[in-house]
C-alpha cells in the first residue's frame, strides 16, 4: 500500500476515500439498525407493561381476587385505598408507569416487601441455574452436532438424531423427576432439591438444559452439513489441510452463525423452563417465585415478574440481533 501511494498518490487517495466513505455508510447503517431495534425494544416493553396493567384489571376487581372470601367490606375498602385502586384508572396507569421508571414495581401482598427487591434476591439462583443449563447444553450439543454432521449416516449420527427427538419430546419436569429417582433416591449420589454447592446444581441444570441441548445439536448438525458441501470446503481439503483443520477453520466458523441466534432465542425458553425446573427441584429462584406469586394470588408481584422477565429476554434478543448484525452485514439490509 505504501508503495502504491508513492507511485500513484491520486489513485491511492481516491481508493482510500472510497473505502472511508464505504465504512462511514456501513457504520451509519449499523447505527440506524441499532437505533431502530432499541426503539422497537422500548415500544415492546411499553406494550407489555400496558398489557399486564389492563389484563389484571379487565378480568375483574383485583381487590376481590386478592382478598379471602370471608373479608369484610371495611377490609376491602382499606386495601383498595392502600393500593390506590380508588383513584381513576388513568391516574393509576400513569402512576404505575412512572413507578416502573423509578424501579418501583409495587409491594408484594404476601411477602410485604417491595416486589423488585424480592426478584433481585431470587435472581442469582435463576442465573446460576440458567448458566449451568446453557453450559451443559453447549458441552454436549457442540461435539454431538459436529460428530453427527461429519459422520453423517453413521450409527453415531443416528443416535444423535434419536437423542434430539427424545430430548425435544420429553417435558422438563418428567426428566427432573426421573433424575431425582435415579441419582438422588436410588443411588444417593446427588441431592434431590434445594440450592447449595455444585452438587446441587447438576440435576437441575441437566433438566433445564436438555431441551436447549437438543435444539442446538439439531441446528448445528444441519447447518454444518450444509456448509460441508460447499465448494470452499472442497478447495480447503484439496489444499492439503487435514479434515479436522477444515472443519475447525472453515466449517464451524460458517455454521456458527445460526447457532448463535438460536442460543439467544433459547434464553426465552430457558426462562420459561426455569419455572418448571425450579418447581421440580425446589430451587429458590425467580421461577419458583412466579409459582408462589400465582398460588398466593399476589398480583403486584406477578405484574413485576412478568415485566422483569420481559425486560430480560427482550434485551437479550436485542443484544443477539446487534451481535448478529456485526457478524453478518446482510442482516441489516433486509
Amino acid at each position: 500500500m505504501a508503495v502504491t501511494s508513492t507511485a500513484h498518490p491520486t489513485r491511492a487517495h481516491a481508493a482510500g476515500s472510497v473505502r472511508r466513505r464505504a465504512t462511514r455508510a456501513l457504520g451509519g447503517e449499523l447505527q440506524q439498525f441499532i437505533l431502530r431495534r432499541v426503539g422497537q425494544t422500548v415500544l415492546v416493553l411499553f406494550c407489555v407493561a400496558t398489557l399486564t396493567f389492563f389484563l389484571v384489571r379487565l378480568t375483574g376487581d383485583p381487590v376481590q381476587a386478592m382478598l379471602p372470601p370471608e373479608a369484610t367490606i371495611a377490609q376491602e375498602q382499606a386495601l383498595r385505598q392502600a393500593l390506590g385502586l380508588d383513584r381513576p384508572v388513568f391516574v393509576q396507569y400513569v402512576s404505575y408507569l412512572s413507578g416502573i421508571l423509578h424501579l418501583d414495581f409495587g409491594q408484594s401482598l404476601f411477602f410485604h416487601q417491595p416486589a423488585f427487591d424480592l426478584i433481585v434476591q431470587r435472581l442469582p439462583a435463576t442465573i446460576e441455574l440458567g448458566a449451568g443449563a446453557l453450559v451443559f447444553a453447549l458441552l454436549v450439543a457442540i461435539p454431538a452436532g459436529i460428530i453427527a454432521a461429519v459422520k453423517r449416516g453413521s450409527a453415531a449420527d443416528s443416535s444423535v438424531v434419536a437423542g434430539v427427538l427424545v430430548g425435544q419430546s420429553t417435558p422438563a419436569f418428567f426428566v427432573g423427576i426421573i433424575l431425582i429417582l435415579v441419582f438422588a433416591v436410588n443411588l444417593h449420589w446427588l441431592p434431590a432439591s434445594g440450592r447449595g454447592g455444585f452438587d446441587h446444581l447438576i440435576l437441575p441444570a441437566i433438566t433445564l438444559g436438555l431441551y436447549s441441548m437438543a435444539m442446538i445439536a439439531r441446528l448445528l448438525r444441519s447447518s454444518l452439513i450444509d456448509v460441508l458441501s460447499e465448494d470452499y470446503i472442497r478447495t480447503a481439503r484439496s489444499k492439503g489441510l487435514s479434515r479436522w483443520q477444515v472443519i475447525r477453520d472453515h466449517g464451524l466458523q460458517n455454521a456458527a452463525l445460526p447457532v448463535v441466534t438460536i442460543i439467544g432465542l433459547e434464553i426465552g425458553s430457558l426462562l420459561g423452563g426455569a419455572i418448571l425446573t425450579e418447581q421440580v427441584f425446589s430451587w429458590p429462584g425467580v421461577g419458583r417465585l412466579t409459582v408462589e406469586a400465582i398460588t398466593n394470588r399476589d398480583f403486584p408481584l406477578m405484574q413485576a415478574i412478568v415485566l422483569f422477565l420481559s425486560v430480560i429476554f427482550v434485551v437479550t434478543n436485542l443484544i443477539v440481533d446487534i451481535a448478529y448484525a456485526f457478524l453478518d452485514p446482510r442482516v441489516r439490509l433486509s
Binding site: F173, L181, L276, V291
Partner: protein, 299 residues
C-alpha cells in the same frame, strides 16, 4: 421455526401425493411404529371408559400406594399400581389420554385457524396489516408461552375451555409466518394471475387457488404443534393451574407422583412415559411429514 417450507411440487394432484406419501411411509419403519402408537393412543382416548378396569376417581384408602402387579405387595387387578388415594394408576392414565388429546388437538386447531387467517391476509394484502401482525408474532415468539399462559389462567378461573383458548392464542405465530411466506410466493404465480384475469375476486382466489396449496405446510406444522400443546397442557396441570384437579391428567398425576417418588415411583414414571410416548410418536410423524413435503428443509 425460522425455516420456511418451499412450495410443494404436485400439491395440486392430491391422488399422486397421497400415493407417494404411502410409498415413503412404507420405507420408514420408525414412522410406521410412531403412527401405530398414535393410532393406539387415539383409540385409548376414545374408548377409555370401556378399557379402564376401574373408575379413575374411586378411592380406596386401604389399598393406597400399591405397586404394579408384577411386584411383591401389589393389589389384585391394579396393573400399574395405585396412587396415594388408592385410585388405579392404569385407569387414570387411560382417562388422562382424553384431556391430553382433546387439549392438544383443539388448541392446535384454534391456533391453526387464527394463524392461517392472519398468514393469508398478511401474505395476500401485505402493507400495514402485514407489518403489525408480523411484529406481534416476533414479540410473542420471544415471550415464553408458559408465562403468558400462567398469567391468563390465573386471572381467569382454570377450566378445560380456558386452557384450550389460552394455548390456542399462544400458538398462531408459526402458522402465520409460514403461511404468509407461502402466500407471498403463490400470489404472483401464473394460476392466480389467470384466475384474476377471468374475474375471480380476492375471496374466490384465496379459497379456490391459495387454500389447496397451503394444506401441506399446514399439516406439517399442525402435527408438530399437537405435541407442543400436549406438553404445555401437562406443564400447566403439573403446576396445578390446568384443568380442575378432579379431572385425571398426565401432568397432574406427575405432580402427585413426585410427592411419593421415593417410595411409590410408579405413579410418576408411568404417567410421564405416557406423555413421552405420545409426544415422541407425534414428533416422529411430524418430522416424516416435513421431510416428505420438503426434503431439503431439515436433515
Amino acid at each position: 421455526m425460522t425455516a420456511t417450507i418451499a412450495p410443494i411440487q404436485g400439491a395440486a394432484r392430491p391422488q399422486s401425493t397421497w400415493r407417494s406419501f404411502l410409498r415413503a411411509l412404507r420405507k420408514n419403519l420408525v414412522a410406521q411404529i410412531a403412527l401405530g402408537i398414535l393410532a393406539l393412543v387415539v383409540l385409548v382416548g376414545i374408548f377409555a371408559p370401556l378399557l379402564a378396569p376401574f373408575d379413575p376417581a374411586t378411592q380406596d384408602l386401604v389399598g393406597r400406594l400399591k405397586p404394579p402387579i408384577w411386584l411383591p405387595g401389589s393389589a389384585p387387578g391394579h396393573l400399574l399400581g395405585t396412587d396415594d388415594l388408592g385410585r388405579d394408576v392404569f385407569s387414570r392414565i387411560l382417562y388422562g389420554t382424553r384431556v391430553s388429546l382433546l387439549v392438544g388437538v383443539a388448541a392446535t386447531l384454534l391456533s391453526g385457524l387464527i394463524g392461517t387467517v392472519i398468514g393469508v391476509l398478511c401474505g395476500y394484502y401485505r402493507g400495514i396489516v402485514d407489518t403489525i401482525f408480523m411484529r406481534l408474532a416476533d414479540i410473542q415468539l420471544a415471550f415464553p408461552t408458559i408465562l403468558l399462559a400462567l398469567v391468563i389462567v390465573v386471572v381467569l378461573e382454570p377450566s378445560l375451555t380456558v386452557v384450550i383458548v389460552v394455548l390456542g392464542i399462544n400458538g398462531w405465530m408459526s402458522y402465520a409466518r409460514v403461511i404468509r411466506a407461502e402466500v407471498l410466493s403463490l400470489r404472483s404465480r401464473d394460476f392466480v394471475t389467470a384466475a384474476r384475469a377471468i374475474g375471480d375476486n380476492d375471496l374466490q382466489i384465496m379459497f379456490r387457488h391459495i387454500r389447496p396449496n397451503i394444506l401441506a405446510p399446514l399439516a406439517t406444522i399442525g402435527t408438530l404443534q399437537v405435541a407442543a400443546m400436549i406438553v404445555a397442557e401437562a406443564s400447566l396441570s403439573y403446576l396445578g393451574l390446568g384443568v380442575p384437579p378432579t379431572v385425571p391428567t398426565w401432568g397432574g398425576m406427575l405432580a402427585e407422583g413426585q410427592l411419593y417418588v421415593a417410595t411409590s415411583w410408579w405413579i410418576a414414571l408411568f404417567s410421564g412415559l405416557a406423555i413421552v410416548l405420545t409426544t415422541l410418536s407425534i414428533n416422529v410423524t411430524g418430522d416424516m411429514l416435513r421431510d416428505f413435503a420438503d426434503p431439503k428443509a431439515y436433515r
